[in-house]
Symmetry: C2
Subunit: 190 residues, 2 copies
């Protein structure tokens, strides 16, 4: 029992599964710290690593999760656009497969996160700047000073976000070719 736990038998039948499980678990852990829940990340990892279409029951069985959870997580992944539904001729049940190109997946995720998270911050910064501009009259010197400091900080953050947005823009839509070009340019420049 202890032996098999520490040094799993080199059973060719199960090696592939062992390897896949290793990958799935790591991917799930990473997902968590990026704000994606573990199960969703694991389902995606499973579909990606096996490279074969899998149905809901396959997912349930492999990851030991309920039907409801599998259904909802699969839908969410489809909504993100990083997995796809797949109908097999003459089969009733639906299958799912991951996108093949990691670069494309990254582009999709990056675009969505930019839209959901960076754009609102930029908008808020602009709103803040506008508010300060409209009310900068008749105050004590100390207050004026504090306002000035906040202005500077807003400007610093704005610059950062504008530039970061531009970089994202390059990645998004260009996918693989865009990214590899970026990398080539970078590696040459430094």
């Amino acid at each position: 029992m202890i032996a098999s736990a520490t040094t799993p038998v080199a059973d060719p039948q199960s090696t592939l599964k062992t390897v896949q499980d290793l990958f799935i678990r790591r991917w799930g852990e990473m997902g968590q710290t990026w704000g994606i829940n573990r199960t969703m990340a694991e389902i995606h990892a499973f579909l990606y690593i096996t490279a074969l279409p899998q149905c809901t029951d396959d997912v349930m069985e492999r990851l030991n999760i309920s039907r409801g959870n599998a259904s909802m997580s699969l839908r969410a992944l489809c909504d993100w656009g990083i997995i796809r539904r797949l109908h097999k001729r003459g089969e009733r049940r639906e299958y799912f497969e991951s996108l093949t190109d990691v670069w494309e997946m990254f582009s999709i995720i990056a675009a969505e996160r930019k839209r959901r998270e960076m754009d609102p911050v930029l908008e808020t910064i602009k709103q803040c700047q506008k508010m300060l501009d409209e009310t900068s009259i008749g105050k004590t010197a100390a207050k004026q000073e504090a306002v000035q400091l906040t202005r500077q900080r807003l400007a610093g953050m704005e610059e950062f976000m504008v530039v970061t947005n531009k970089i994202f823009q390059q990645f998004i839509g260009n996918a693989r070719s865009g990214l590899t070009r970026v990398v080539k340019v970078l590696l040459k420049a430094f």
Copy 2:
């Protein structure tokens, strides 16, 4: 009451605070979806946006949180290295201030996340590849095929992570100058 809630009086005394609170809330929301808890993100936003050193009680009062929470969150931010402790001459209590340079903060965070999240995945991928290499003998054709597919997926992910790591490497350690150079190069190249 309703009037003051929907259209706050243009009181110069409070405009600065209103603006800051707006920024703080947005930053907190963003943090959450990046795996940083709301309070920590808000404390950081507060220190960044005011640009003035603040003590624990300032933080507690402004964000309406307990002493314990403030203490632990401030420590965590210090551990990350994006805020700093500050002793004022002749004062007992400690003050905290945010780093000024957004680019530097980003570099610090990127380096840490690469170390904690990307490096382990790369390591796992290599381990998986090694395991598959060592056991690829004597199997059915179907199994061989499945192994081959998984190999390809591992390779695809590895390529992506290696390249991404290189990009991160450029950002990290170069901070502002590095990043702005990167951006200049990129914007010219596209």
